[in-house]
C-alpha cells in the first residue's frame, strides 16, 4: 500500500498523523510519502501560470526542514518506508499531481487550524476532493 500524507503543520496528536501511524502499524510494508507544499509567489491572473515564480524564501525553506525533522522523528520506526517531499506550487494541483505520479492508494489530508465546533474546510481540501482520482481521507 502506498499512502500520501499532505500536511502543512506538525502536531504529534493531529488526526492525520495518528491515522497515518495507525495504517503503518496495521498494514506492514506500507510506503508513506509525506508532502509539504509551499505556495510560491501567486499568479498575476487567477488560475494561470503567468507571473508564478517557483522560488521560496529562506524562511519557508527552513520551515520545510524543521517539518521534515519532526516528521522523520515522529515516524522513526519506519524510516525506510517514509519519504518527505517539500515542493513548491499551488497546493491543490501539486497534491493531485504527486498522487497521480506516485500512483498512491490513499491520500490523507488534514487541516492545521481546525475549529472544533464548526469544522470548515479549507480551499485546498475542497479542491483536492473534487479533482483527485484517488480515495481521499479527510481528517479534521
Amino acid at each position: 500500500m502506498k499512502v500520501l500524507l499532505a500536511i502543512d503543520q506538525y502536531h504529534s496528536d493531529s488526526k492525520p498523523i495518528k491515522l497515518a501511524k495507525e495504517i503503518m502499524v496495521q498494514v506492514p510494508g506500507t510506503k508513506l510519502i509525506v508532502l509539504y507544499v509551499s505556495k510560491g509567489s501567486s499568479a498575476v491572473y487567477y488560475r494561470t501560470p503567468i507571473g508564478v515564480q517557483e522560488a521560496i524564501t529562506d524562511k519557508t525553506w527552513q520551515c520545510g526542514l524543521k517539518l521534515e525533522n519532526e516528521i522523520l522523528h515522529e515516524f522513526h520506526p519506519w524510516v525506510e518506508q517514509i519519504r518527505f517531499e517539500h515542493l513548491v506550487g499551488d497546493p491543490t494541483k501539486v497534491i493531485c499531481e504527486v498522487a497521480d505520479e506516485e500512483q498512491v492508494d490513499l491520500v490523507i489530508l488534514g487541516q492545521s487550524h481546525s475549529h472544533k465546533e464548526h469544522p470548515r474546510l479549507g480551499t485546498v481540501v475542497h479542491g483536492v476532493i473534487n479533482h483527485i482520482n484517488q480515495p481521499v481521507l479527510v481528517a479534521i
Binding site: 488526526k15 491515522l19 495507525e22 495504517i23 496495521q26 498494514v27 490513499l106 472544533k116 469544522p119 470548515r120 474546510l121 481540501v125 476532493i129 473534487n130 483527485i132 482520482n133 484517488q134 480515495p135 481521499v136 481521507l137 479527510v138 481528517a139 479534521i140
Partner: protein
C-alpha cells in the same frame, strides 16, 4: 480503529467504497462495520407539504431490503462484524448523526451517489458529509 461507518446506496460509488471497506476489515481485524442506508423522502415532504403515494414508500422499502441482501452477501465472510442499518432522513445529516451516535472512528463514502445532479457535478452528499462531520471521512472515487 474500531467502528467504521459505510454509507451505502447501491450506486457505483458506494460499491467502490465497499471494496475499500473490505480492505479495512482485512487490515484492522478488530474493526466492526455499520452499513448505513438512508431512504430519502422527496424534499417537500420533509417540509410537511404534499402527500407521498404509498407505493413510493413501498418502493424505497423494497430497494432497501434488496440492498441489505446484496450487501450481506458481499460481506458474508465478515457477518459477525457487520451491521446493516436503514433509516429515513436527509442523507448527509443522518449519516453524521448516526456516526456520532454509534461512536464511529471513520466514515467511508462513495464520491458520487444516485442523485441526478450529483453525477454530473460532484457528490453533494459526500461533500456535505465532509463539511459537516467531525469524524475522519474517506471519500472513495
Amino acid at each position: 480503529m474500531k467502528n467504521i461507518l459505510w454509507a451505502v446506496d447501491g450506486s457505483e460509488g458506494s460499491i467502490k467504497a465497499g471494496k475499500m471497506v473490505g480492505q479495512f476489515l482485512d487490515a484492522f481485524p478488530e474493526s466492526n462495520v455499520i452499513a448505513l442506508h438512508v431512504k430519502q423522502q422527496p424534499t417537500f415532504i420533509d417540509m410537511g407539504m404534499g402527500v407521498v403515494p404509498l407505493s413510493f414508500n413501498d418502493s424505497l422499502e423494497k430497494k432497501a431490503k434488496q440492498l441489505q441482501v446484496d450487501v450481506e452477501e458481499q460481506f458474508s465472510a465478515y457477518l459477525r462484524r457487520f451491521k446493516f442499518i436503514s433509516t429515513n432522513g436527509t442523507p448527509a445529516i443522518t449519516i453524521c448523526k448516526v456516526a456520532e451516535e454509534e461512536n464511529v472512528d471513520l466514515i467511508i463514502i462513495g464520491s458520487h451517489g444516485y442523485g441526478a445532479v450529483d453525477r454530473v457535478i460532484l457528490g453533494s452528499v459526500s461533500n456535505s458529509v465532509v463539511h459537516r462531520s467531525h469524524i475522519p471521512t474517506l471519500v472513495v472515487k
